[in-house]
Assembly symmetry: D2
Homo-oligomer: 407 residues x 4
């Protein structure tokens, strides 16, 4: 019966790593012997366990160890990664190692090298000369690139829950539910955002058009003006509706000012797109004085870097929209440096797309009135993701008041 000895280190009890590992072993039809267990007495102490894993055949053992590595298990005897060359542009070797969003190390020529960036669902391309290991997506790989295959020589360092975590992440780790004390949670979220700003991290907002439709644009503008947003990723719709509001005071033809609930259909929406097309884009439209207010006006004025990614639903789209989705992904990835917090608001498509690009270390706040969206974003979750099911306008009203105001 083939066997291998693995080691687990860290907060393997309270991060639930040990039980998950044992579960995996059993589920694969393998068995285990626990050799040594050294459980930290205090929460801050690290624990250690050495486990011998026995599987019915070598293939099963291989597949199992691959899974255990995802949980941070190290195989005792250290080996180098195995490499194969990419057979064509855009094609990985058949058995390529698939990355997670956790920190990952590849042992190359007996030295462990960290893989950059931390990017899930990618392959690892190795350059032995420069001693670098790079996570690459399908379209980025070129024929002949040396790519890690199998799982040998790979070590994953899963994010561990820290004692320093605020109440918020503990509290909201339960399934998405509408039954939360909203005001309290929003105040905690405001604290997280202030903390992120204080720590010189960059804050990324991913936003959908509901921000404008629900009348929350004015609150969001204050957040930007207050310096609490460094990056804004969105689609054509958020921008077009914001510009409609800036130019005509309406959103989808609905007057957002008090007392005026008349509808005017999509006329203003399309005329706003046309006007900004005529100006040559958002920045020139702000520069020329055509656009004098709104979310994107504030972005331009306060130097917030925005990326607008196209979708097949788009009307127009605005000249600023990157209509090629791979280019849009690339543009977003290029703007993730230094981002320590991501706030996802009112968009499933963009939120999931961006979540797929983020390393597990970035804290994520997900807010949507649709429980399914919040569940989808948090269920993949790590200890760093929290979700709140609530309405956009009052959420941003309260959040902004806590973050920007003196509350």
């Amino acid at each position: 019966m083939p066997s291998e000895t693995i080691q687990l280190r860290g907060h393997i009890i309270d991060s639930l790593i040990l039980p998950k590992v044992l579960d995996e072993i059993i589920s694969h039809g393998a068995t285990f012997k626990i050799g040594e267990v050294n459980i930290g007495e205090q929460r801050k102490d690290q624990s250690f366990a050495r486990i011998e894993v026995m599987a019915p055949d070598a293939n099963t053992l291989d597949a199992l160890v691959l899974r255990l590595r995802q949980h941070g298990a190290e195989v005792e005897e250290k080996k180098n990664v195995q490499l194969a060359t990419a057979p064509a542009d855009g094609v990985f070797p058949q058995d390529f190692y698939i990355t997670t969003n956790q920190r990952t190390f590849a042992r190359i020529d007996d030295t462990e090298i960290e893989v950059h960036p931390t990017l899930m669902d990618s392959a690892i391309v190795v350059d032995r000369a420069s001693k670098t290991a790079t996570a690459k997506r399908f379209r980025e790989v070129k024929k002949g690139m040396e790519t890690v295959v199998g799982h040998q020589g790979i070590r994953v360092e899963p994010l561990q829950r820290l004692a320093s975590h605020s109440d918020l992440f503990e509290f909201l780790s339960s399934p998405a539910s509408v039954e939360k004390p909203k005001s309290v949670v929003i105040r905690e979220m405001a604290q997280e955002i202030k903390r992120a700003k204080g720590g010189n991290g960059r804050i990324l907002v991913v936003g959908g058009p509901a921000i404008v439709h629900t009348g929350a644009g004015e609150h969001f503008e204050k957040l930007i003006a207050g310096g609490f947003v460094q990056r804004l990723f969105a689609g054509n719709a958020l921008a077009a509706h914001d510009l409609e509001n800036a130019l005509f005071g309406t959103s989808l033809g609905v007057n957002l000012e008090e007392g005026g609930l008349a509808r005017q259909g999509t006329q203003n929406y399309l005329r706003a797109i046309n006007a900004v097309c005529g100006a040559g884009g958002i920045r020139p439209a702000v520069a020329s004085g055509l656009v004098k207010r709104g979310i994107f006006y504030q972005c331009v004025k306060h130097g917030v870097d925005f990326v607008l990614a196209g979708s097949i639903r788009d009307d127009g789209p605005l000249p600023d929209v990157i209509t090629d989705v791979l280019e849009a992904q690339k543009a977003m990835r290029a703007k993730l440096d230094g981002v320590t917090m991501a706030v996802m608001m009112g968009t499933m498509l963009h939120s999931i797309a961006v979540a797929n690009l983020l390393p597990a270390t970035v804290k994520m706040l997900c807010i949507d009135i649709n429980p399914a969206v919040v569940a989808k974003l948090t269920e993949r979750g790590n200890f760093q993701t929290v979700g709140l099911v609530t309405d956009m306008e009052p959420f941003l009203r309260e959040l902004t008041s806590c973050v920007v105001g003196d509350r």
Copy 2:
């Protein structure tokens, strides 16, 4: 081919009555000749149409005319209602006329008498001596009561859209959607509530426990203290959670105060129920000083009449809960006099139950974060019902600020 001539009067064009009537006729396989059409030139003017309806057989004609009466059609030749006696307690004659929530008149001995109360899904019991016609539910009918059968002699006066309606009801008549300018809509709702109070109407609130869970209790208290609530219909859960909050500062064990997100499970919830059971109920618990704050404290202090209806989910329940559902229905109906506005918040069960008891003339505001609940309540709708999909805490925060504050 049997035929009958019907008349339509009122705002039959813009209330969509005429087209609906013509549709019904065609749908039943009948045909029509429009004899006279007199369409009001101005919106305030009434219109009139006389239509001859021809059906293939008498049964179809009967069934059709029954439907047309629901739309307000009058059959030209006026006949008296037909009566049959109830065969047993709780049982109507087989072909009993089923009421709607619209004003209804029964022609008895050549005189039209209005049916009271206006209550849907009931039978009409007639007392010829006192010349009264009463809507009765199943369990209220006694053997031998004279009950209207068939549809002859019945006239329904459907509620018609009035020019005087505010923007709100026009605007929100579209399907429930989360994409509304929330702040503007809430301000309009606040206007409606102020108008209802100013017009000396009574305001009924139907509320679910989400009011407390989301931390909206404090806002609701202000609404009560401000005199904007005369009736509160709810279940055991709203009261028990409110009392848990009043006694322990938690809701389902979640601390509603800032900074304290620790969970303590259902302990406090059950201890609060026990404590109020020990006091003998809500009113004695307030009187004795055990309960010193909260929604029900404010109800007792400000004389708001509340009805707590039982459900099979109830824990406890509190001594104030009416555990027999028919008794609870009766208690609610007894408190509907003078109610001109009903605000349904965060409960499907109670909202639908109460909506079934209300005449069409009562304006209804339905607020829930679940679009399905709002859709269910508004789809039955008449021009007097509006729904808003939003979160309870910020909704009540904003509404209260508009209604009670000077905004």
Copy 3:
């Protein structure tokens, strides 16, 4: 610093009990020393851990140990429970112990006695003479009854995940999601139902009116006729719609037969209720030949015990409906003996109510097209509850075909 030594036994690693216990300790601001850990080498082996828990003060320690007991922790020195008398009918002593849905033992006069029934959110009333311990709900307690207070002397035996569990419960333990291979899951559910029947367990179905509205009644009838349902708990609506269908072939006026999509409103619904009221209830209506088909016809014919619990939304209700909700709870509890599987379909109110009455050992299958309902029922979950988000008609079509047919 006050301390207490606790012991954990069983599958404390793979049932995640140990990490949860350590987490609880830290979360309460306490610390721990792990004295002895004995981890089972094979999955079937039991593990053992002895942990010294130190808290800043006695109150915190008490509260903490209370929590740890919920996870199965035993305090080393065995003490008897503390008792106090109920101060009035329907009122427990202030500090009464609150039960869970797990097997529970109370040490009385140095003997451990199991508490019956296993019923959550209850108090434990002790009769020293007969050496019995009974879980009682609020309205069941009488003045003077001896009731357990505090947590001393109580041992909880949490349900542990068994190796013998089928794939189904492992697989569906993830959050409710619509993205499941439906046909496969339904076939596994069918296996569970067959297994339950084979094991001489009783199968309880809790059903809502969607069974009839979606046209699934005919499938459900086959399940009953096949002997796969021993208990049916529902509300007035399921019965009334089933009877409408049996008498008129419609559900809410919608013809369920092919080709006939005409609507006839609530007429037939109310006439069906009236007809069955006239017959004196469901059983006499079947006996007299008035009702010749349908779900409740099959229940009567095959001796399925049904309980219809009232709600304030009820029309009628039918004579069979228990209109007092406490009586209805009592009637349901009286019919739980021998039930080993509960299938909840298409009703939130009744499903939650019944789930609150079931011990953790009863397997629960929850099926609803609304993800929120499934989430609500499974999130409380233990290893024995699984949920599926799907549509009622095709679910029951497929399930019945698997269970009754030879597939």
Copy 4:
């Protein structure tokens, strides 16, 4: 007071056109005099109304008439359209006429010309030499193109409800609801699909990955093999999951075969993409024998034209995916010729995108388990769109059995 006389023709009563027109007039603060009303006696007869519209000022009148034209109103005095040249590539003249999805005619040099294609939210570009009028989207317009401005000379011919419509479209015109007799509705949908095929119309399916996740792929394959699908529009996810299933028998790592509910994460999904990338795309992968079954295998084998549109969520994507969203829109529009029925299943993004491209004459069936998606697609609705809230796998199982089988 400026005034204009409009004419309405057609089924203006039962298509609700007349009341909507009168409503619009009042809502714009204008008044009307009804000159002549000629209501068809039989349903098949056309009606006619001549209405004088008076507005406080010319601007309001203009805006109002613009709206009335959307409802099919004709202004009595026939004028030619007004034209202006596009100021730059991708920019329309400021006051450009915005099209709907209804048939539209432009009067040019005293001749009415139909605008092609029927495409909403576009401008109308006129070529006087060739006497053509073309609907163009933003990015299609070139500097100098003659574009219709204002609304003069435009006539819209709204789709009118036909007596020949089947029950289905009448019945399902009510708001999206889960409470429908599913089996009956699906059989009616099957009839519509057979009718569309029989009428030599092309059937377009727009599908999401839930088709594969829920295990409905095998049913869909039969629909394709039976010749009931001519066009398939989807995203990378549907194709990638179908190919994962074809190559590995799993969907997102979940084994779709009976009995195997083990999860293997996203491994197979990414390996399937890589394998098809290696083959050079879907068609070569089928040709080479790599892919031997599945939805796209059937598409290739039966000559179904498919378009895969990119999104920023895509993994890979497959070589067949059009990553530029404007190119993808163009590719879809190029394949709409002859399409008379569109079946939208399990995707909000693609369904809305395609719905925006379809003329009102194409019948739409929208199926999703999420009521919000169905509501979104049907609320824009005309008499030709119906929605059903149900689960994908059983839906396709039943539909295919009705359409392909002999049921």
